[in-house]
């Protein structure tokens, strides 16, 4: 006696194709590292510290810095293109809020699609958001590196310590083909 009840979910998809992962270099020495910082407190110092450690311990050649002006928006296409041209690998972070963690993952997937290996850093508090974004972008299980939450109140030494701890995983992510995690 009743008609079918409509499903209200799902709209048309704005992006049809799923992203792909970029080929990884065997080693980082001599490579140019892009640093994509969002405007959250300590994001730039965190990435700078990783950049310095990469130069000191892995012989990277140079860094190219960029600072996103928006917490919520993905990286502007022109900035992404410029970095993709100038950099061999990129680091993106620090995702420590709902929209910026999701945006960081989306940026990472965009760099991978442009052929540049990317390592995204999110705090553990935002894994759910980061994973959901990866699924939505057609890249379920997209691998990123987590650091403890929060990052914003850390002092200079605290930031450096975090960067030091994250380093091995970041290097692994940039040099070995990441294995997608099925369930997290």
């Amino acid at each position: 006696m009743f008609e079918a009840m409509l499903d209200p979910t799902g709209g048309p998809s704005a992006t049809a194709t799923g992203p792909r992962l970029a080929a990884r270099p065997a080693r980082l020495d001599g490579l140019v590292v892009g640093l994509v910082a969002n405007p959250k407190k300590n994001a730039e110092p965190f990435l700078d510290a990783v950049g310095e450690l990469l130069a000191a311990e892995h012989g990277t050649a140079d860094v190219v810095r960029t600072r996103k002006t928006s917490i919520t928006d993905p990286i502007p296409p022109a900035t992404l293109d410029e970095l993709a041209q100038r950099c061999d690998v990129v680091l993106i972070g620090v995702g420590d809020c709902g929209s910026c963690s999701a945006a960081a993952v989306a940026d990472g997937i965009a760099f991978e699609a442009a052929g540049v290996p990317a390592a995204v850093i999110c705090t553990v508090a935002f894994r759910v958001s980061a994973d959901a974004m990866a699924r939505l972008q057609g890249s379920p299980g997209y691998t990123y590196v987590t650091t403890a939450h929060p990052v914003a109140p850390l002092d200079e030494a605290g930031v450096r310590e975090r960067a030091r701890r994250a380093l091995p995983e970041l290097v692994g992510l940039l040099t070995e083909a990441p294995v997608p995690v099925v369930a997290r």
Binding site: P8, G11, P12, T15, I71, T72, D73, G98, C100, A103
Partner: protein, 348 residues
């Protein structure tokens, strides 16, 4: 079948449909109205817009919402078909907010859209602009706002504790649709201020991080009331770095007192911008030192928390029964769009 048995049958199905919607995760926590294809056609008949026109999107999630999807969710929200043109205009307005087209719906601040309706359509649809305007009790206000929220949840897939990461959210998320009390406002309506012809049915919108009341029935001096408002606007808690934002939902008494004191809306905006100020010492006390930072609003003395007067939206709404107003906190530090969007109804 007896009338009583028919009723029992209907009620059984109605309840089963509502429970089904819960099981599917389609609701915001409150029961929804089950929607059939026939119902959606009724809604689509109320708008001149094509069913497959995209009215809303979150580009970074690769998700878009068509007029038809908006109609399904509006019907589920409890809207009447004639509310759909308002819902669509609300999306037109929201899509002009940078934070909406970015990741604003996912923000830890859990912002709420404030939808402001101007024009004669308020009376036609029963959109409350007077007593209790920010509270419950009015179908049009409640369901138009809810229709926006159900699209965010169902079409964009942005759900709490998943992609939506609000730390606490704000009370009133997806319930904030208000009419401007144009009849008792001493100034021109918001939509007219923003460039539309007087009497145009229109929607303006912005995302809010919260709102906070000012109860000042203590004075008849407009500058004292403005000082009271500026004190709330200048809260350090609203500041991230040198960024803050503020708007006003002025109660009728405050608005009329300010106008009688010779203040235009623009002069109120300017006064608030000039006087909403925190010293460097005060910012330091809150752990929000601005040392070494530059930019609009910041000088050697401290911070003008909303340096651009144009970025202080003012709406008059509520009853004329007490001198109460609200400071609202638009989300997005670049400000709000300052646009009003006509409501396009189907020609009768």
């Amino acid at each position: 079948m007896t009338a009583l048995a028919e009723d029992a049958d209907r009620l059984h199905h109605a309840r089963a449909a509502i429970e089904h919607a819960y099981e599917q995760g389609w609701t915001d926590g409150l029961p929804i109205v089950p929607v059939t294809a026939e119902v959606v056609e009724e809604f689509l008949a109320a708008t001149p817009r094509a069913r497959d026109e995209v009215v809303a999107a979150v580009p970074h999630l690769g998700r878009e919402c068509t007029v038809e999807q908006a109609a399904i969710n509006a019907a589920m929200a409890g809207c009447r078909p004639e509310y759909l043109p308002v819902v669509l205009a609300a999306w037109d307005a929201l899509m002009r907010q940078r934070v909406v087209t970015g990741g604003g719906w996912q923000s830890t601040s859990g912002p709420a859209p404030l939808i402001v309706v101007n024009g004669p359509i308020r009376a036609e649809l029963g959109i409350n602009s007077a007593g209790g305007v920010l509270g419950p009790g009015f179908r049009a206000n409640a369901t138009i706002a809810r229709a926006v929220g159900l699209v965010v949840r169902n079409v964009f897939g942005i759900r709490p504790q998943e992609l939506e990461q609000s730390t606490q959210g704000i009370p009133g998320r997806f319930t904030l649709c208000i009419g401007e009390n144009e009849e008792e406002s001493p100034w021109e309506p918001l939509a007219t201020e923003l460039g539309l012809e007087p009497e145009t049915d229109a929607v303006s919108a912005m995302l809010l991080r919260t709102c906070e009341f000012i109860d000042n029935r203590h004075t008849s001096d407009p500058e004292q009331v403005l000082w009271d408002i500026a004190d709330t606007v200048a809260r350090t808690g609203a500041a991230i770095g040198r960024h803050s934002s503020a708007g006003l939902v002025l109660g009728v008494e405050h608005a009329q007192m300010l106008a009688a004191g010779g203040f235009s809306k623009a002069e109120v905006q300017r006064w608030i911008s000039e006087h909403a100020f925190r010293t460097h010492k005060e910012m330091q006390l809150a752990g929000k030192s601005l040392a070494g930072q530059e930019g609009p609003g910041l000088d050697e003395h401290g911070l003008h928390v909303v340096p651009d007067p144009d970025q202080i939206p003012i709406v008059v709404a509520g009853a004329r029964n007490a001198a109460m107003s609200m400071v609202v906190r638009p989300f997005g530090f670049g400000g709000w769009s300052r646009t009003a969007h006509p409501i396009r109804q189907k020609e009768a």
